[in-house]
């Protein structure tokens, strides 16, 4: 049996697809251009703008910094966010309703305001080193995503499963790791990926927290484009995409495998 599809629906689907994929095609195309200016479609094919990234020391440094900050802040946000989401779902009735709102509050504040106030308080007031204030800022930035995503996967979790494990002799903390975590694995992976992407692409908070000698990749890119209009901006974008996809694949693989091995 075939189902007839309205031509307008097909047209609409194609439009949405172009809207989603189009920018990616343009960025990848521009990055591969042999010209010394940003253009699309690419004129001549070359990888020289990718080589260019690694020739500039500032780019090399900031790629490492960005990866470190993204891993650290995502890791810290998971360590804080998973127990927080757990507690808010497990003890929903006992806890006040505003508590879950508290954890998504940073999303409601414009990121520029968040970045500026962090600069005034953390970096200036307490003279916290740049690197650490970057980690603090990014942790704050990604925490709401972690709490939201983990909460969503815990919403369907039947906590009597946990009680069953405890009644069979498994101590509560052990139960958390052997029973609860494996069952919200996909939520943890999703939270990790979302948080990592948010951190590695962030401009508005990093722009306040970076300082002499320490910068992140997007900030370095911003500085670069102020002086040069070459396809480096496109090649860095492609590099960021590749890095993100690679991290996603690795996380999916390793987290998936360790949990399955239990």
């Amino acid at each position: 049996m075939t189902r007839s599809v309205h031509p307008a629906l097909i047209g609409l689907a194609v439009l949405v697809f172009i809207f989603l994929v189009g920018p990616l095609v343009i960025v990848v195309g521009a990055a591969l251009s042999d010209t010394s200016f940003l253009t699309f479609p690419p004129q001549g094919l070359s990888l020289r703008w990718f080589e260019n990234i690694f020739e500039i020391a500032a780019f090399r440094r900031t790629i490492v910094t960005s990866l470190q900050i993204a891993f650290l802040s995502t890791g810290i946000a998971l360590v804080i966010g998973i127990p927080a989401a757990y507690a808010m779902n497990r003890y929903r009735i006992a806890l006040p309703g505003w508590l879950s709102t508290l954890f998504v509050l940073p999303v409601l504040v414009p990121e520029l305001v968040l970045g500026f106030s962090l600069l005034k308080s953390v970096a200036v007031q307490f003279t916290v080193p740049i690197y650490i204030s970057l980690v603090i800022g990014h942790t704050l930035l990604v925490l709401p995503y972690v709490v939201r995503v983990i909460s969503a996967s815990l919403a369907n979790f039947d906590f009597s499963v946990e009680e069953a494990a405890i009644s069979l002799g498994s101590p509560p903390l052990k139960t958390f790791f052997t029973i609860l975590l494996p069952n919200v694995r996909s939520g943890v992976i999703a939270a990790f990926i979302l948080a990592f992407i948010t951190s590695i692409n962030d401009v508005s908070i990093s722009i306040f927290m970076t300082g002499p000698g320490i910068s992140t990749l997007p900030i370095q890119l911003l500085a670069h484009t102020e002086q040069f209009f070459d396809p480096t901006v496109a090649s860095v974008s492609v590099l960021l995409m590749v890095l993100t996809v690679a991290v996603m694949a690795i996380v999916e693989r390793t987290l998936g495998l360790t949990f399955l091995a239990k």
Binding site: D158, S160, V161, E163, A164, A165, I166, S167, L168, G169, S170, P171, P172, T175, I179, P182, N183, F259
Partner: protein, 353 residues
């Protein structure tokens, strides 16, 4: 192996709300006692207190002479079966059943042997490698049962284990639960709101209401001789008629109900008749007759056919009553008749406060 459970003067609160009041319960070795009542009566709270998921405000819980009151839940060694099965979704049937043995540090091959034997007993050997998501409700509850039994706990507790199953399976499973419990001789607490379920599988049943046990006895006694008006209504006594003795003459007492209805009752069947009491019965405790003068005058309403008798909705000066009449003599709505108490089917209760 199997042990006596003693709950002494337990009081429990949720926040400032008192949910159990001075509750005591003694369950003998190998006995199955049901906690029966509507939701909110405290039956699940009692189970969770014994399991260690809640702490009592005061009182003590002991199992085989060991004080459980302050012991953490994972050290209590109690087998639990939950209403929603609570199987570990990421573990196979065999790993679910073996989970408790693993916690006890039992070696892998011994564990596999015991799990295999247990799965055989509940008839699930062929599903050992499946994940719980691929099982039917009945199979899930068998896995849950096997998981609780395999650790050979001194106490088994069931929290509405059959509520999520369909009617036919419910009856099969309760027989199966009772057989396994009997075979192991494990002391058991069974929480349910289903009276038929509780009565059919229990040695004794505790009928609970507002955090208290209203009556604790064998199903036979509860069904025939409820101790108070609450339990009487609960086990289906439709007619509760408050009475006052107005005259006594030897064995016979003349009693008066609301609306000036007078009856004479012989204390021979009831023992002593107090000055004020409630005459309680099911519909078959009041016989409809249009051939006698002694009885409660009634105007008959709707007649329904029960197979063994006709049942009538009756309006009387003492209120709305249900009574049964003989099959040979169907009476039409609107007819007047007398309702005569059948002493063997009636019981006398203390008046309600």
């Amino acid at each position: 192996m199997t042990q006596r459970l003693t709950i002494e003067n337990i009081t429990a609160h949720y926040g400032t709300t008192k949910v159990l009041e001075d509750l005591s319960l003694d369950i003998a070795e190998g006995e199955l006692v049901s906690l029966l009542g509507a939701s909110g009566c405290g039956k699940t709270t009692t189970l969770r207190l014994v399991a260690g998921f809640l702490a009592p405000t005061s009182g003590a819980i002991t199992l085989g002479g060991k004080d459980l009151t302050r012991l953490p839940a994972h050290k209590r060694d109690i087998g639990l079966v939950f209403q929603n099965y609570a199987l570990f979704p990421h573990l196979s049937v065999a790993d679910n059943v073996g989970f408790g043995l693993k916690q006890r540090g039992i070696a892998r091959d011994t564990r596999a042997k015991r799990v295999g034997a247990m799965l055989e007993r509940v008839g699930l050997s062929h599903l050992a490698d499946r994940l719980p998501g691929a099982l039917s409700g009945g199979q899930k509850q068998r896995v849950a049962l096997a998981r609780a039994l395999v650790i050979e706990p001194p106490l088994l507790m069931f929290d509405e284990p059959l509520s999520n199953l369909d009617a036919k399976l419910r009856i099969d499973m309760r027989v199966e639960i009772r057989q396994l419990q009997r075979a192991n001789g494990t002391t058991s607490v069974y929480v349910t709101h289903d009276q038929e379920e509780a009565f059919s599988i229990s040695d004794r049943v505790a009928i609970m209401h507002q955090g208290r046990i209203m009556q604790l006895d064998t199903p036979e006694v509860l069904y025939q001789r409820p101790a108070n008006a609450f339990v009487a209504r609960f086990v289906g006594f439709e007619n509760l008629i408050p009475m006052t003795v107005v005259a006594r003459d030897g064995e016979t007492a003349t009693v008066e109900a609301e609306g000036g209805v007078r009856l004479s009752l012989s204390s021979g069947h009831f023992g002593a008749i107090p000055d004020r009491f409630i005459l309680a019965s099911r519909a078959d405790g009041l016989a409809v007759s249009d051939e006698t003068n002694d009885g409660i005058p009634a105007t008959l309403g709707l007649r329904t056919y029960l197979g063994r008798a006709y049942q009538y909705q009756c309006e009387t000066p003492a209120g709305h009553l249900l009574a049964n009449g003989p099959l040979g003599r169907p009476l039409d709505p609107g007819a007047t008749a007398k309702l005569v108490p059948v002493p063997e089917q009636c019981t006398i209760l203390a008046p309600e406060a």
